[in-house]
Structures are given as C-alpha cells and as structure tokens.
Symmetry: C2
Subunit: 381 residues, 2 copies
C-alpha cells in the first residue's frame, strides 16, 4: 500500500503570547486541508502529537480536544513520547492506514510552552528523563553536555567545531519566514554566548517555542500529482531513558536501529538522501545524529558540518534546511511534524530561498529525551 | 488477519500506597508474559495507556519509561485519551499488527492516583473536560449528575432504580479477589450514602484507584489453543468534549457510533453478547451504556438492571462481572485493559466464582471524559 503526504502546513514558530493552543492547531489544520484540497469531512481520523498540554495547560483527552477544533467527530488519538511525540503520532497514523482502518488522516503536532513559568517548563521537560537523572538535579542541557564532553574527548574535537552546527542552522533559518530566529550567527557569536552546561553554550541550545504543524496522509489515489510525496518508511527505535545505562555516550542506539530499518524498507542507503531534518535539540545532538544516520563517518560529523558539507548551496546533502530546532524553534510536540512539512516542501520544490536543488529523497530524525526514543521517516518525490 | 489475546494479567486494584507505578507495571507485564508463555524478547512493541503519570508523577516519555521496565529495547508508545487511554492503547496496538509492522505486542494500562493530594487528582481528572466546564466549576460527578437528572426526567426513572447498578456491581465485585471493594451493598446502603452531585450519591461514583493490567496480543499462530481468545473488533467513536454542545444528554453518540461499527465488523448483534464490561464511572453511565450498546431498549436500562437481567446467575447477558469501575476500581489508564483481562477470563472459563456460564462472545466499553471518546472491543472464544 502506497501512502502519500498530500497536505502540509505549519504556523509561525516563536514566542506566540497572543495565540492559544486551539488557535495554533486550527491554523495548521485549516491550512493543511486547504493545501491538500480536502474538507474536514474527508478526514477519517486525527492523530495528535503533544507532550505538555496536560502539565502546562491542564488539558488532557487531547484527541477529542483537537478533534473538536477540526470540527469532525472522528476517531482521534493523542500520542506522547516527549520531544518525539510528533514523529510517533505520524508513525501511529501510518500504521492505522496500513491496517486498513482509515484511509485519509490528519496528523497534528502542537505545543504551547511560553505562557508558563520557566521553572514549570524545565520541570515539565525533565519529565522525559529518568528518576535518577531528575533526582540528581540533571537537566537536558546537562545530559547533552556529558555527551558533548565524551564526544570531544573521544574524537579530539574542539568547541568551535561543535559551534558550527548553530552557524549552519541559523543561516538556513535566516531563509525561513516561519523560523523563530531568522538571524545569521558567526562562530564567534556562539563561542561568546553564555555557558549553559559546559561545553554547551546558549546559542547551541534549542529554544522554548510555541507552534503547530499538520500533515494529511492518505492511501487513496492522488489527483494533484505534483503535490503527492510518498512516505516510504516509518520506523521507531528505543533505548534506556537514562544515559548511565548505555554502552556509549557518542552514539544513540535508538537512532541507529530505527534508521537501519528505515533505509532497508525504503531500499536506499544514506548516500541517496538529498535533504534531512535532524533533531538538533543541542549542537552535539546534530553531530552525533549526522554520524548515526550515516551522513558522516564516526568522529567526522562536526568537521563535515563545519566544512559546509551539510549547508545549502555547498553540501552533497543539506541538513536542517528549515533552520532545525535551533533556529526554526522547538515546540516539542510540533517538531516531528514540522520536519515532515519541511521535507515535503523541499521535495515538491516549493521551499523558496532555502530550496535544496534536485531534492528527490528526504529523511526526518525525531528524538525523545536524550535518545530514549527515535523516529525516522523517509520520503520520496 | 486474525488477532488473538494470548496473555493476560491484572494487579490488585485499590489504594496501593506501598507500590510504585514501575512495580505495578512490572507485576502486570511479567504475569502476562508468564500467562502467554512468552519472554520479553518475544515482544515486538509496547503500547501504554495512561492519563496522569505526567501531571501527578512528573513522568512523561512513558513508552520508553515502561519499555525499560519490560526490559526490552522495542518500539514503545504512550497513548492518552483520559479514562479511555487503555482502550485506545489496545486499538492502536491492533492497528500496528494489522499494518504488518509488529506481530506480538504488549499492551499495558497503568495508573497510580492515590499518592496525591485530592485537589491535584480532581484537577488532573478535570483535564479531560472542556475549558467551559472547568471554568464554570463543573466536576465529572456534576456533569454525570446532569445526565442522570435528564434521564430520570425523560423516562420517569427513580433514584432507587439507578442505585441498583451499584448493588449489582458490588455483588460481582464481592466475587473478584482483585477488586478494590469486595463488599455487597443494598439499595438502602446506596440511597443513604452521602450525596456527591444530586442525584448521584457516593456509592454511585467509581473510586480513585491504583492498578495495572496487561495483555499480549498476536497475529502469530497460537500453540495453547485454550488460551487463545480472538479479538474480532476494535472501534473508536468520538463526540464533543462538552455536554452543552450535544443534542442529547441521555445517549452518548460516540458509543453508538463505535458499537455499531464493532457489531458490524464482528458480524453479530447485541443479542449475541454473553458478557460485557461496561464503563460505569457513575451509575447513570452504565444505564445509558446498557441502552447505547443495545442490551436494553431506550429508557428500560435501569429497570432491566434492577430486575437482575444483567446479574450473574440470572441474566441473559452479564454486565460488569469484574465489579466494574465501581467495585473493582478505576485506575483510569488501566481500566480499558482490565476490561479485556476480565472478558478473556470469562471466555476461557477461568473466572472462578464470577464465571458466566457458556460465555462465548464478550464486549468491552471504555469511555473518556463524559463521552468525548469511546472504544469498543469484541472478543470471541
């Protein structure tokens, strides 16, 4: 059975103080319907990726809650998997279509974070970690800093090389009108920014954001051919919640497992991928992902990025053309769906100033926690 | 493709102060593996139904969290749909098997509620309602009381007739060693209990509970035939979150929609069902469900229950042989899976003192909020 993405939309990402979760979701879903040439009545089911609405907004029963916004009494599901909630919602939606249960479904990723007290947001996000990590006072910047330190030691990589991730992603973000930050950065800017968790600096950490993204996927024949992009693989990998239970700090086995399965299902190798959206919650996360996904050899990811090999205009593969989590923003439940929206734009050839030339195969990499769960999707023109 | 339930387990339900969510989950999953003759390594994926762990326990990323408890690095998913989280997790698991993505999967329902302050629990549960309901100070007992009042007016039904639901369910619970309350009640006991939300009294409201239940389902051929029970329909219906947006207070359209689809898929009529687990969060909920599911005519549900037509030993169909939410307890995320465990016990003929004679077809009815979502499963011997 062939599944196509036929409708896509994303709201502005950023600190959207005046917009409610309902309004964000309505905007994304309405525009996705318009883009896909569908009415709400033609949608068989809704899958919602969200992490924090219950904790930060006292709203659960999110399938029904956002189903009401869509204006359709259809089976509706809320899938939570921390920052991978969006990718997991799409995976679940894909399975429901392959099962023959539904034909055309909406997948919504949405998160509203900035209305809340910083302490509540930090505590909410740390709910994705392990008991031991929380009890020891660890935060996600701290956990990823451990990975960065291990990586720098293992491969003799400098802080400047890690910083190049943010420079690339801010350059891409400067070309994306939906991005939270549309300003270019230099290595010096990154290096001089406040240290958050040594060696990670403020400009190596993704921000707190609001936003919603939606896609419509279908198994039915597509009328407007130029808009149909095939979803050829959807795979999930998992690992322990806590870092201390893992064999290595410089690779995420959840990503390796899921991407191997996805490449096999799609019948491609990493070299075939033209464009990828990577879960760069921190600079080190993108470096490790670049290697785990097979886009660079072990220990060579940071250098490849700093040499422009993943940058628009000069790379063999372009990673995070949207600006990634760092520049485009990271409304956690929305991120996995925004990645799909970006790849579909790239494969359709409608990505404007940030268009990757001749993009035919794209990949998304969405991670929850510090690698406890990873979701890989592969799309083809 | 045929899907069988091959392993089942449920922990004690009740106020389990000394047991953590992890321990509850471990107990249920370990026993389900044992019952199904499987090892953790033979499980392809895990689906977790839970509503409140994030709000009450500051734990998200629940797929990975409980996957770690299972001791398997397998794709793991957390599905939330308020009190229907368990049923929705099973529905999602069924689809993933029908999709050909996984063959043998574990579905866990778990909730730990009693450790928390009553105010936090009430606020957490009300997250399943609508903004308007919360802002107006409504609680779920209040919302169901509106339905009870409307039903009593429409069909000239007395409070005593409604009270008979609790009498039946406590009688069944008295035969279930896993039930939170194993004490029989009289109509007088119920009528004299404290009014919670007129006309509903304390003994017509399901309790706050802890507990976990797990089932293993598979598309693979089953070796131990007597343990294999077929899952022949899994359907979801939805409605508005808020009562005031509905056409009627005396029927839940989500239940009607889902059950019609389920009966059709199973190729049966309501008369074919021998035993059913019903979501009796309040007495009126069971009365309306009895009618929505087609087990009694409109306006006749309460009388049928009071006349013993749904009681063990005297009924044509037995509803809530486990004791239902009222007597067995209602750890919200676990409920939808406990219902499956009970029906499988009944169809296997291993339900002990509460065994329904010649039970061949069973149904479960799991509801989220005040009817915003409903999940119906039908099982056959």
């Amino acid at each position: 059975m062939k599944i196509n993405v036929i409708g896509i939309a994303t709201t502005q990402f950023g600190e959207l103080w005046k917009i409610s979760p309902k309004s964000l979701a309505r905007e994304a879903m309405t525009q996705a319907l318009e883009d896909g040439g569908k009415s709400a009545k033609q949608i068989d089911a809704l899958f919602v990726g969200n992490m924090l609405a219950d904790v930060l907004g006292n709203q659960a029963n999110l399938g029904s809650f956002f189903g009401e916004v869509l204006g359709a009494s259809i089976p509706s599901f809320h899938i939570e998997g921390a920052c991978a909630s969006g990718g997991l919602a799409l995976h679940t939606a894909v399975n429901s279509i392959l099962a023959g249960q539904y034909k055309t479904v909406m997948v919504l990723g949405v998160e509203k974070m900035t209305d809340c007290q910083p302490d509540d947001i930090v505590s909410g996000l740390m709910a994705a970690g392990s008991d031991e990590e929380r009890l020891s006072g660890a935060t996600f910047p701290g956990i990823y800093a451990l990975m960065a330190r291990a990586y720098m030691d293992e491969y003799a990589v400098s802080e400047e090389l890690l910083a190049s991730v943010s420079v690339k992603n801010h350059f891409h973000g400067s070309l994306n009108p939906k991005a939270q930050f549309q300003k270019v950065l230099t290595i010096e800017n990154v290096m001089k920014s406040t240290k958050i968790a040594d060696p990670l600096k403020l400009l190596e950490c993704s921000p707190i954001s609001d936003g919603a993204s939606a896609v419509i996927i279908t198994s039915e024949p597509v009328k407007i051919k130029k808009k149909a992009i095939s979803l050829v693989a959807s795979e999930v990998g998992t690992d322990t919640l806590a870092l201390h239970n893992r064999d290595t700090f410089t690779s995420l086995s959840a990503v390796v497992t899921a991407s191997k399965k996805a490449y096999k299902k799609a019948g491609i190798t990493p070299e075939d991928v033209n464009v990828a959206e990577i879960h760069d919650c921190f600079s080190i996360a993108e470096v490790i992902a670049t290697e785990d996904l097979g886009f660079a050899k072990r220990g060579k990811g940071a250098r490849a990025i700093s040499e422009g090999k993943m940058t628009l205009g000069s790379g063999n593969i372009v990673t995070n053309p949207s600006g990634g989590l760092k520049a485009c923003g990271h409304p956690v439940g929305a991120t996995g769906i925004k990645q799909i929206v970006e790849i579909v734009e790239q494969l359709r050839g409608t990505a404007g100033k940030r268009q990757v030339k001749n993009a035919r195969i794209g990949l998304t990499h969405n991670v929850g926690g510090s690698g406890a769960v990873a979701v890989i999707h592969i799309l083809k023109k």
